[in-house]
Each structure stands twice: as structure tokens, then as C-alpha cells.
């Protein structure tokens, strides 16, 4: 095909036509000099543009959009500071394997390397935090680059891809010659598990007495929830989730042990330590999951299903690796497995579940209560975004996740300020769903400017601030490991009035400090349909997240509530 309708097009138009071919409906972004030609054509392109108030918000929103919808999220920024502001968001998506395409303006090609105004080496800066990136040096490369970018972002182990787009190339004329198929000789992800490896795994499974599944984010990425459910129900093998795996199946399933790891349940961690066979599905054995590596699952053989060969035997030595897509591999295994005779193991786990439930003392307005109540009202079906810290862990512990893509949280990078802009992306992807950001008073202030984005787009996001006047998780570590020396963690001296902030932006705001006040307003907050609403919950500042495995300790060395 030569041109488009026989006409030559500008680089900016070619990129936009490519985005349309890839099914892009919305872009989160912020304009600037070096991306103006593209913005100008986007203005009446039919693609929705969500103007954020800080580029970091754009990257997180694209990420939240991708996590909620399973589609590729797209963000846009100008050169220099625009692109550096995207960096945290891109790194967040990279660590959690989220498909986004970031488009950045760049100074004109003849100025590159001259320290021009708003010039920065964007591809250099983002190289270690993208799955791949491109600098478009010639308009003729553009159609192929766009096609490849989306293909790489969404296939294999997904991840962010960046296209750095110099302003002169945006204006260059070229043909829109969009390839239908793409062939990248250095990139051939393996989807189907090797039959021999699957057979070996099935043998191990059939001979195990204390098997345990670890379900990670890969289950959600590959859409393997049905297959996983079938697998555990067929075999009766219990399942524990990593933070990223929460929601892959109902956390209240009788065979579920809840979350594993640093703030996991006692019974999940004990199960890991006692198990004789760990079947990891799409989990990369992060240190927050394994605790002390040398003593992780000391009696267990390990089967590791992962689409990324480099995740296998990186941290934990694996006995049977299966490189492939979780959904396909589990479907294959489901044909070969049957019910295991592991009644005594299940009974032991049930006993532990009864003996060591997640608990908290019910005096005053407790964060755990708030999360439980939200879980109850939304029936575990809302899209829950979190910030990072105590708010994230209480959410993971006490919200009863039922379905995939309902927990949106920065698991790998642990980015404070992620939750709210991610909620914007999620609400745009799922306009009919209830989207809630469970936040801390520290995190919410890291991207609070996005209230303007939410208000202007009439997004009824519910921001529940678990406000303890502290950077709570850091304070918790100081309490436990730094002699209660609370260096730089108190926010009390200049804590803003969040109700007034909400109102100043045209959102709604409420403040509660007792259970009664909370109970009275929470339904109204959750049912809000017109605009964002902040619910500032004044919780007990001393409250900590328990149980806890101290960093570097074995999973069975858990400490309990001390307060």
C-alpha cells in the first residue's frame, strides 16, 4: 500500500494511524514543545486524550488501564523533563510485566547530542527499564516500529516499550505502509510447555504428599484463572498467592491459603516450609515472597512454570522448569492429573488456618476493619488499587479478592503514588465498575495533583486514606528494628486537610475518626457516581501490619502483633 488514500502522510499521522490499527482508544499524556506536531494531529484523531497533571500520572494511568483491561496502555510526554517524569511509571510497569507503550517527544534529529533545550537521552535512560525501546530516526522506519512496539509489549512476558519520536520526524512525510505480520528474529517467546517437562512435573505431582501451588502475577497476565481453578479442584492441591497473584482465583476458595511472604498468612508460610513440592505458576520468587533464600521450602522439590526463561533458577534452584504460557501449560497438565491422596496434608493446613487466622484487635477505627468493610460492601468485586506501604499490605490481607484484574498494585518496584493515577486508568478502562484507591496519607500526596484529572473526566474514584499521620510502614520498621527512633516518618506537623483539598479540586471529601462515623458514610462514598471522593480515615497511628517475616529471615520466623 502506498500512502494512505494514495496520499503522503506526516510522521505524526503515521504514528496515529498505527495506534488505531493496534486498537488504541485512549492515551494518557501531557503535551510539550517536542511532541506538539503529534498532539496537533491527535486533537481531532478520534483517539481519546486524557490530560494528566504530571507525566508520572500518565505512565501510572496507562499501567492501571492495562492491568484492569488486559490491553496495552499508552502514555505520552514531551522530551526532556516530560520523559524523565515518565521514568518511575515505566519502571513500575517493567517490574510487574505490564504492557504499556510510552511515546516521548525528542528534539530534532540534527540537535540530538547537542544538549539542546529539553533534550535528554531518553532511550539511554529507559534502556534498563523497558522491554525494548526505539529512537525513530527516519519516518520510513515508523510503521514497523509501531507494529513491533505493540507486539513486543503484549506478547511473551509483557512489558513497557518506549518510542522516542524526534519532532522533525513527526513532520517528515512518508507512506503509511503498515505491516500485517511481524517477524523479529531475536524474539520468539515460547508458549507451549515442553511435553517431556510437563510429564516430569506430573510425575512429581503424583508422588508428592505435601504439594503446594504458588500462584503469581503470571496467572493473571496469561488469563489462566479457569485452568488454575480446574487444576486445584482436580488434584485437591492447595494454593497460596503472591501479592501479584491475588485475585487469580477466589481467595476464599476452600483450598486457598491466602497470601504468602513477608506479610502473608501464617498458614501459607508454614505450608511453604513444610511442603515437599512447590508448583510455582508465573511467580518469580521475589525476596518478599521467599524470605531467606537458603531456608526457603527446605524439603520441597520445585516445579516452575514461567514464560520467561530468565526467571527460572534466578533466585530459587528449580527441579523441573517449564518454560511456557501458564494458561497453556496448566491446560495441558489438567489432561494428565487426577485427585491426589493428600488428605492428611489438607487437614493439617485446615488446622493451621483455624489456629492462626489473620486477626486484629477491634478497638477504635482500625485499617483492617476499613478494608474488611469495603470488601463486604463491594462483595469483593470492586477494582482495588493501592499505594505502597501498610495500606497495600492491609488491603492484600483483608480484601477478599475473587477475580483476576481486581487488585492493581505496584508489587515489584513498590511505587508510592502509583495507586491513584492507576485508578484513573482503571476507571477509564472499566467505566461501570467501582474503582477504589486504598491509600496512605504519605502516598496519596505523591500524585494528589491527579485529582484534577479525575474531576475533569468525571471519574467517581473512591480514595480511602488510611491516615495515621505517618509513613506507616517505614515507622513500623523503625518501631521493630531501629529502636523506635522515628527518623523522618512523621507527617503530623503539616498534614493537610484532605477534605478541603478534595473540595478545592471540585471533588467530594469526608473525614471520619470513629467506627460509627465510618459505617455511616462508607456506603454513600462507594455509591458515588459523579466525581472522585476522598474519605480521610483517621486511624490509630500505632497500628502495624502483622504477621511479619523480618527482611532476610526464614518464612517460619514470623513475628506477631505486639501492640
Amino acid at each position: 500500500m502506498v500512502g494512505y488514500n494514495g496520499k503522503k502522510m506526516k510522521g505524526a499521522q503515521i504514528l496515529i494511524e498505527g495506534l488505531k490499527k493496534e486498537g488504541v482508544e485512549v492515551i494518557f499524556g501531557y503535551p510539550g514543545g517536542a511532541i506538539l506536531p503529534l498532539c496537533d494531529y491527535l486533537y481531532d484523531s478520534g483517539i481519546k486524550f486524557i490530560l494528566v497533571r504530571h507525566e508520572q500520572g500518565a505512565a501510572h494511568a496507562a499501567d492501571g488501564y492495562a492491568r484492569a483491561s488486559g490491553k496495552v496502555g499508552v502514555c505520552l510526554a514531551t522530551s526532556g523533563p516530560g520523559s524523565t517524569n515518565l521514568v518511575t511509571g515505566i519502571a513500575t510497569a517493567y517490574m510487574d510485566s505490564i504492557p504499556i507503550v510510552a511515546i516521548t517527544g525528542q528534539v530534532a534529529t540534527h540537535l540530538i547530542g547537542n544538549d539542546a533545550f529539553q533534550e535528554v537521552d531518553t532511550t539511554g535512560i529507559t534502556r534498563p527499564i523497558t522491554k525494548h525501546n526505539y529512537l525513530v530516526r527516519d519516518v520510513r522506519e515508523l510503521p514497523k516500529i509501531v507494529k513491533e512496539a505493540f507486539y513486543i509489549a503484549r506478547t511473551g512476558r509483557p512489558g513497557p516499550v518506549l518510542i522516542d519520536f524526534p519532532v522533525d520526524v513527526q513532520r517528515q512525510e512518508g507512506d503509511f505502509d503498515y505491516p500485517d505480520e511481524i517477524e523479529i528474529r531475536g524474539y520468539k517467546p515460547t508458549y507451549k510447555g515442553h511435553p517431556l517437562q510437563i510429564e516430569k512435573a506430573v510425575n512429581l505431582i503424583n508422588n508428592s504428599k505435601k504439594p503446594l501451588i504458588l500462584a503469581g502475577g503470571g496467572v493473571i497476565t496469561s488469563g489462566a484463572s479457569e485452568e488454575l481453578k480446574e487444576f486445584i479442584e482436580k488434584t485437591s492441591i492447595p494454593v497460596a498467592f503472591t501479592l501479584m497473584g491475588l485475585g487469580s482465583i477466589d481467595v476464599e476458595h476452600p483450598l486457598s491459603l491466602g497470601m504468602v511472604g513477608m506479610h502473608g498468612t501464617r498458614y501459607a508460610n508454614y505450608a511453604v516450609m513444610e511442603s515437599d513440592l512447590i508448583i510455582s505458576v508465573g511467580c518469580r520468587f521475589d525476596d518478599r515472597v521467599t524470605g531467606k533464600l537458603e531456608s526457603f521450602a527446605p524439603s520441597a522439590k520445585i516445579i516452575h512454570i514461567d514464560i520467561d526463561p530468565s526467571a527460572i533458577s534466578k533466585n530459587v534452584k528449580v527441579d523441573v522448569p517449564i518454560v511456557g504460557d501458564a494458561k497453556l501449560v496448566l491446560a495441558e497438565m489438567n489432561k494428565k492429573v487426577g485427585r491426589l491422596d493428600i488428605k492428611s496434608w489438607i487437614e493439617k493446613l485446615d488446622e493451621w488456618k483455624k489456629k492462626y487466622p489473620l486477626k486484629y484487635e477491634k478497638d477504635g477505627l482500625k485499617p483492617q476493619y476499613i478494608v474488611e468493610k469495603i470488601s463486604e460492601i463491594t462483595k469483593g468485586e470492586a477494582i482495588i488499587c493501592t499505594e505502597v506501604g501498610q495500606n497495600q499490605m492491609w488491603t492484600a490481607q483483608f480484601y477478599k479478592f475473587k477475580k483476576p484484574r481486581t487488585l492493581i498494585t505496584s508489587g515489584g518496584l513498590g511505587t508510592m503514588g502509583f495507586g491513584f493515577p492507576a485508578a484513573i486508568g482503571a476507571q477509564i478502562a472499566c467505566p461501570d465498575k467501582i474503582v477504589i484507591d486504598i491509600a496512605g496519607d504519605g502516598s496519596i500526596q505523591m500524585n494528589i495533583q491527579e485529582l484534577a484529572t479525575a474531576v475533569s473526566n468525571k471519574l467517581p474514584i473512591k480514595i480511602i486514606i488510611l491516615n495515621n499521620n505517618y509513613l506507616g510502614m517505614v515507622r513500623q520498621w523503625q518501631f521493630l528494628f531501629y529502636n523506635k527512633r522515628y527518623a523522618f516518618t512523621s507527617l503530623e506537623r503539616a498534614q493537610p486537610d484532605f477534605v478541603k483539598i478534595a473540595e478545592a479540586y471540585g471533588a467530594k471529601g469526608y473525614k471520619v475518626s470513629t467506627v460509627e462515623e465510618f459505617d455511616k458514610i462508607i456506603k454513600e462514598v462507594i455509591e458515588e457516581k459523579e466525581k472522585p471522593v476522598i474519605l480521610d480515615c483517621r486511624i490509630n497511628p500505632e497500628e502495624n501490619v502483622f504477621p511479619m517475616v523480618p527482611a532476610g529471615a526464614s518464612l517460619d520466623k514470623m513475628i506477631e502483633g505486639l501492640a
Binding site: 534502556r127 529512537l135 531475536g186 530468565s310
Partner: protein, 168 residues
Amino acid sequence: MENKNFKQHLISVTVENKFGVLARIAGLFSARGYNIDSLSVAETEDPTVSRMTIVVRGDDRILEQIYKQLNKLIDVIKVQDLTGEEFVERELVLVKVNAPNPSARQEIMQLVNIFRAKIVDIGKKTLTIELVGGSAKVRAMLELLKPFGIKEMSRTGKIAISREFGKR
């Protein structure tokens, strides 16, 4: 301190001959804390492909990760650990040694002949030698030149290619 399980490996990597690929490879090694002993790169018979020969040290686990991480890069086409296979390796060394008097020159020229090296520059006080060979030969020659005083040296790093008749 270096682990005693560390072994030297010779890795041959074919990559897209594109802008920025060397930076990707170098960045991967530095970001993950792997050491490169030497790296050489140039175009192959196919101008769209470059071959890198990388000499690295590590234990089996590190080597496995290096192999996998390299493969993960989109621009990497093929990674081959030549260690443990039959391969041909060569390095080019230019070395400037002290040769202040006729007897030193005489001795050096004899060495050059034995090692089938070449004298490529002669000055008043120095000789510059071009030496091509595998690691053992290069090491031996440099050892013998050391007593004369090596003024300057420039090495290409190893390049390698596998032999037709495969594994050892």
C-alpha cells in the same frame, strides 16, 4: 574476592547490527554486576548482523543467567557459549617494548620469529610488535617480553568461531 567456582567463558553473540545494541549489552552486564574481561564486536558476513565475542567469568549460575538475559534482549539473535565446544580463538596484540640496544633488539627479533609475530614499528628506544594468536601463545609471548619492559600495549580482546565438528 573471587569465588573459586568462577571459570572463564567465551561467549559468542550474534546481534542486530543496529544503533544502541552495544549499549544494551554493556548495560545488561553492568546492571546485573557481571564482569566483562573483554568484548570485541564487528559486522559479520551478513551486514545486518554483528558478532560479539565476550569473555566473562562466573560460576554456572551466573553463566546461566548471562545466557538467559542476553537471549531476552530483543536485538540478540543467538547466544553461544563456546566453552566446552571446539572453537578457534584469536587475539591481536600490539605491544611496544623497550629495546634500547642492539642485543635487546636481537633477542626480541628472535622471539618475534619463533612466535611468528611481526615487527611493525621501530624507534630509537622501542620496538612495536604485532602478535596474533590464541590465549596460550599470547600469554607466553607477553611473559617473555616482560623482562624487556613493556611500554604500551593494545589488545583487541578475543574473537572466536566454532569449528564445524561440534562438541568435545
